[in-house]
Amino acid sequence: MSDKITSARAKFLLVIVVAMAIIFVVRLFYLQIIQYGYYKDLADQTQIKQRVIPAQRGLIYAMDGDNPVVLVSNQTVYTVFADPPMVTNKAKVIKTIQAAAGDQARDDLAGLLDKTDTRYQILATKVSRTAAEQIKKADLAGIGFQANSQRVYPEGALAGQILGFVDFNGDGQYGVEGGLNSELSGSDGLLKSVTDVNDVPLTLGNQNIDKPAVDGKNIVLSVDRNIQAEAQQALAEELDKYHLTDGSVIVMNPQNGQIMAMANLPTYDPSQYNLVTDPALFNNDVISDPYEPGSVIKTLTMATALDTGKVEPNDTYNNTDYITVDDATIQNFTKGHTGNITIQEAMNYSLNTGFVTVAERLGNGKTVDQQARNTMYDYFYNHFGFGKLTGIELAGESAGFINKPNSTAGGPVTYATMAFGQAMDATMLQVATAFSAGINGGRYYKPTVVAGTMDDNNNYTPSKAAKPEAQVISQGASDVLRQMVITVRQANGGKGIDIPGYTVGGKTGTAQVPDPSGGYYGDRTIGSYIGFGGGDTPRYVIMVRAAAPTDVGISAGTSAASHVFTDISNWLLNYLKIAPKN
């Protein structure tokens, strides 16, 4: 009897055990086989952490003579934040952060710490590393730090509109930062691994990824900081002298197309771009604001005529101060030099009639006919690059505009006025680049602001020597044009203002300002000056623009531009160590 009971109990127990074992096996099968993916993902989410390794943005250098110097660098700054419910000693937190962070601390720290229903309150931004370490040493409960990289500008606002800025999202905007954003950005790395409770990456598991960041390229600009500073200073001083506020200047090397300086007024400080209220200040007018350049274009009309062999400097025409093209009468700005005069004299006095005559002689000599217009368009568009982007490495370049000779707007009157720089839109960069080709032997170089790169060990690698994109006029035509431009400057007082022993060439331009309602304003002008220095092998080309509003006189812009040119030119002759003749 007893054995039977024991046997029954044993069987019962066996059934229970087996049943439970089956339940366990089924449950484990469900969890580990059927639900494998779900639980694996869940585990990975808590155990595997993914961290982006930010790439260091490339630095930007300028030249200082022959040596690169830092113009834009990176600095790690910290955002100090609080988790209000976790803060135990508010008074100590406030005292420590105010002492260390100073002006970077928020005003109402006590109020922010009182917001205990929130878990994140920013107490200070852009805190330096040393200040952040000072706060860390105080070992404050509930206080955290977030590192950010920001651009710093050791030279202050120098070349601000060339540089551009990096916005809140880390993207370059305007200038070099915008134009070369992909080269400067580099590519972020990725660290994916199993971590412990302290977020320390562990070399466990087989899903670890360690892809290092590729830092951005360090770019060395062709801009020379000394020339840039001089250009900015000369522009500011002369504009101030003539009570003007709006002007630009570009200095370039005509032998390779490298930009040595580019400045505009008004300007802005890229380290405080967020304080700028007028977004137009971000534009670099030298490349992005096309305008009717006026008489500086006469040099290029002359280059066209010389290269085609249609006109020589000593050819003459009868100047009556007026000339009629179709139904329009074009007159000279400077009157009185009437009679039979040479084209050189017409250039010296900047006579519009002389250059309408030159345009006519590109065709049948009687009017600006189709052949004359086709020739002018070919040279202006195809040879000198007006109406096309130059391809400079700066964001926001504008192509300008010229009318096609077979279009309705491209008639004889338009092309007659184009001969002295009206009825066309061009940027200063386009004009300076074309002028450089005109006086350097006829070689057109693509303008550039990049001189080379710098590696992490501060080894400078210059770019390959620039090759001309095209021979746009002959060497002979260029030699004649260069001498004509020197003669123009000498005839207009250059001998008295240039350093003795140097040959400097230059040409003024005074353009009327188009009225949006039609025609031109009678009392507003934009004065320009373009010229070169350095003798038979010009070392620099300078172009200046100064806008004259209504109340300063219509010649104020031209006078200011001319003086800015002289100031910079005389300074450059010394700075570039150019020896005088004889």
Partner: protein, 119 residues
Amino acid sequence: MTVYTPYYSSRRSINQSRSWSRNQNVTRFQSNIKLGPVAHIVLVALMVVVLGLIYLTQATKTTSYDYQADNIDSQIASLSDQKSDLEVENARLQSLQNVKNSDVAKSMTTPVDTNYISE
């Protein structure tokens, strides 16, 4: 203490099973202790435990290296930040504005006359 009992086999029987060389000792010893199934399980379990411990030791050691590597990474980042700060400070000290305002620059005078020599 383990006790071994010597016993002998005939040369023929030995030669039948294996070939021995001359003068080789043909005596063999056999333990009297027999291991039962439980002892086997315990031994296997012990071996598993020992191997497990070895694995854990190695894994812990690797993790400690991970901590060291993480510390070194932090130090590198910190030193890199310091280097950047110093470079920025260096650039600021050499900036045009600082150079212009330096005592050396202020004490400079404009040359009265300039002569050029040919190279």
